[in-house]
C-alpha cells in the first residue's frame, strides 16, 4: 500500500472523530470542515511520525482542538475590541459560585429524535457556553484547564458550563415529557 493510500485509510478511520470535534467546538459546518481539513494536512506533514504510532488519534484530536480554539480566539480578538461593551467575565465577581442543583436527575437512553434535538441545542448554545461545555465533557479538561486555555476566569467557566447544562436539560425535558420518559 502506498503512503498516500495509507494516509487515506488513516483519514477514513478518523475523519468522523475530527469533524465532530471541530463541529462541536465551532457550531458551524463549513468552519468545522475547514478545520478538519487543516488538521489532516498537518497530519500529512507529520505522517512519518504518525503512521506507525499508537497515539495518532490523540495527536489528531489535540491538533483539531487547538486549531479550533485558535480560530475562535482569532475571531474573538478581531471583533471583541469594537463590539463588546461588556467584558466577557462581567458576571464573574471572582468568588467561587455554588449552584443549586436538582437532587436527582436520571439519564435515560436518547432516541434518534432526542439526539437530533441535543445536537441542535449544543450547536445553538452561546459560543462561550458551548466551547466550555465541549471542552469539559468531550475533551475531558477540568475547569482550571479550560479557564487557562480560554483565558477567562474560573468562575466564568463554571457559570458557562452550568448554564449550558441547564439549557440542554430544558431543551430535552419537553421531549422526554412528550415521550413519557
Amino acid at each position: 500500500m502506498s503512503e498516500s493510500e495509507q494516509f487515506e485509510a488513516f483519514m477514513a478511520a478518523y475523519q468522523d472523530m475530527v469533524y465532530s470535534t471541530a463541529f462541536r467546538l465551532l457550531g458551524n459546518e463549513a468552519e468545522a470542515q475547514d478545520m478538519a481539513q487543516e488538521a489532516f494536512v498537518r497530519a500529512w506533514k507529520h505522517w512519518h511520525e504518525l503512521k506507525d504510532g499508537q497515539t495518532s488519534g490523540g495527536w489528531l484530536k489535540t491538533v483539531t482542538r487547538n486549531l479550533c480554539l485558535n480560530h475562535l480566539e482569532r475571531y474573538r480578538a478581531r471583533w471583541k475590541f469594537f463590539t463588546d461593551l461588556r467584558r466577557d467575565d462581567d458576571e464573574d465577581d471572582g468568588r467561587e459560585v455554588e449552584f443549586a442543583a436538582p437532587e436527582t436527575l436520571d439519564s435515560t437512553l436518547l432516541n434518534a429524535d432526542q439526539r437530533e434535538v441535543l445536537e441542535e441545542a449544543i450547536a445553538t448554545l452561546p459560543k462561550d457556553q458551548r466551547v466550555a461545555l465541549v471542552l469539559y465533557h468531550y475533551e475531558d479538561l477540568d475547569y482550571a484547564d479550560i479557564a487557562t486555555r480560554l483565558k477567562v476566569s474560573l468562575g466564568k467557566v463554571k457559570t458557562d458550563i452550568f448554564r449550558a447544562r441547564q439549557a440542554l436539560l430544558k431543551k430535552l425535558q419537553p421531549q422526554a415529557d412528550a415521550l413519557g420518559i
Partner: protein, 155 residues
C-alpha cells in the same frame, strides 16, 4: 484529569452527552484534504511560510535582504538621482522631479537630524519621550473607542 463530581446535573450531562455519536464527516472531506496537500506540494518553495524554507534558503535570504537594502540605499538611489538630473527630459518634468527630490532631501535631512538627536540623547530622555508617545497613542485610541462604543450604544 477531572475529579469525580457528585453534582446530579453534571452526571446527567456527562451521561447524556456521551450518547451522541460522532457526526458523519462530509463526503468531500477526504478529497478536499488530498487536493489541498497536492496544491501545497505544487506551490513554489518561496510561497511557503519562511519558517518552512530549508536552512540554506533561510540563511541566504537573511543575508541577502540587508545587502539588498544597502545596495538600493547606497548605489541605486544616487544613480537614479543622477540619471534624473542629467536626463534630457522636458523642463516641466525636470521641475517636477526636482521638487520630488527636494522633498526627499528635506525628509533625509529631518531623518539625519532625528538620528543625530537620538544617538546623542540620554537613554532616560529617550525612554521618557517614548513613554509620552505611547501614552498619547493609547489615550487617543481609548478615547476614540469609548466614543465609538457610546455612539453605538445610543443608536
Amino acid at each position: 484529569m477531572k475529579p469525580k463530581q457528585n453534582d446530579p446535573l453534571e452526571s446527567w450531562a456527562s451521561q447524556t452527552l456521551r450518547q451522541l455519536p460522532d457526526r458523519r464527516a462530509p463526503a468531500g472531506l477526504s478529497r478536499g484534504v488530498m487536493a489541498e496537500i497536492q496544491r501545497r506540494q505544487d506551490a513554489p518553495w518561496y510561497t511557503q511560510p519562511w519558517m518552512e524554507w530549508n536552512l540554506a534558503a533561510k540563511l541566504a535570504s537573511a543575508t541577502a535582504l540587508p545587502a539588498l537594502g544597502f545596495v538600493v540605499w547606497d548605489m541605486v538611489l544616487p544613480a537614479v538621482r543622477e540619471a534624473v538630473l542629467s536626463a534630457s527630459v522636458t523642463r516641466e518634468a525636470a521641475t517636477t522631479f526636482q521638487t520630488a527630490l527636494a522633498v526627499g532631501d528635506a525628509a533625509a535631512s529631518i531623518g539625519r537630524a532625528g538620528w543625530l538627536t537620538l544617538s546623542h540623547a540620554h537613554p532616560m530622555i529617550l525612554a521618557g519621550v517614548a513613554g509620552v508617545f505611547a501614552l498619547a497613542w493609547f489615550s487617543t485610541l481609548g478615547l476614540g473607542t469609548a466614543a465609538w462604543r457610546l455612539a453605538r450604544n445610543n443608536d
